[in-house]
């Protein structure tokens, strides 16, 4: 599909902001879920690293599939409803127009973004574990390294939100980081 065509559909449907929001929200969900999972393994006694990697990858995959399917179902319904309202107002069939094409393609695009955010972020977080198990090794223990990566990703998402909102990127990143640290503290309490 041509990038120009996609850009036109995105502008027409006003979906750019929705996709950005989905990326951050689901990416944050993914990072926090993996952080929780890693902390769970950390407070448990001596879990095999391969089990940790498999569990994290399975969770990452599940978050990706969940992101794609849930966003597609809801967006497709929303777009169909908007198109129907527009067709009623226009007294015309718009399926062959860019509005009709947007109703078909935009839900897939939004779903892809929604699913890829936790999937890609999950892969980044798992990378230190993978390097420790199959790569050259790490200067620190693999679980704390992966948790530090997750916290760094959470901070980066906060920074991204701060820049979009035109507020202090540092404060926005710090707030997101505090949520991550609070989650770690709560898991420590029950662990």
């Amino acid at each position: 599909m041509a990038p120009g065509f996609l850009r036109r559909l995105l502008r027409l449907s006003g979906s750019g902001a929705i996709m950005r929001r989905y990326f951050v929200v689901n990416g944050f969900d993914g990072a926090l879920t993996l952080l929780g999972l890693l902390m769970g393994f950390h407070v448990s006694d001596q879990v095999d690293l391969e089990t940790v990697i498999t569990s994290c990858l399975a969770t990452t995959l599940a978050l990706g599939v969940s992101g794609v399917s849930s966003a597609y179902i809801s967006e497709a319904a929303e777009r169909r409803s908007s198109l129907a309202a527009l067709e009623r107002a226009m007294l015309a069939d718009l399926k062959a127009s860019d509005h009709g094409r947007a109703a078909v393609w935009i839900p897939w695009l939004v779903a892809l973004v929604n699913g890829s955010a936790p999937f890609l972020i999950g892969l980044v977080i798992v990378t230190p574990l993978w390097l420790a198990r199959y790569g050259p090794g790490l200067p620190m223990a693999p679980l704390p390294a992966a948790m530090a990566t997750a916290l760094a990703v959470i901070f980066a998402l906060g920074v991204f939100l701060g820049r979009i909102g035109g507020v202090s990127w540092f404060w926005s990143g710090t707030k997101a980081l505090l949520v991550g640290l609070l989650t770690l503290g709560l898991i420590q309490l029950i662990g």
Partner: protein
Amino acid sequence: MPRVRHLVLDVLKPHQPNALEFARALAELGTDYRVQVQVKEVDEHTETLVVTLSGEDLDFERLGQAIEENGGSLHSIDEVVVQGQ
């Protein structure tokens, strides 16, 4: 074959694409197309436009297609200038 030099069309279209993008989409169809769009009425979901086009040889079929592709609906041809060979 006679050439269409000037057209005034009554078009109903959704709010998106906006009048500027809509005019650009029509102007892109020919190197010498001049497009003027006047928004006559704005409703909740739609707007009514008077589209004035001029050029050496306006392609009405392609203009109609472009209007439909952008979600518009051609209501009437209000003015035409055609020049014989």
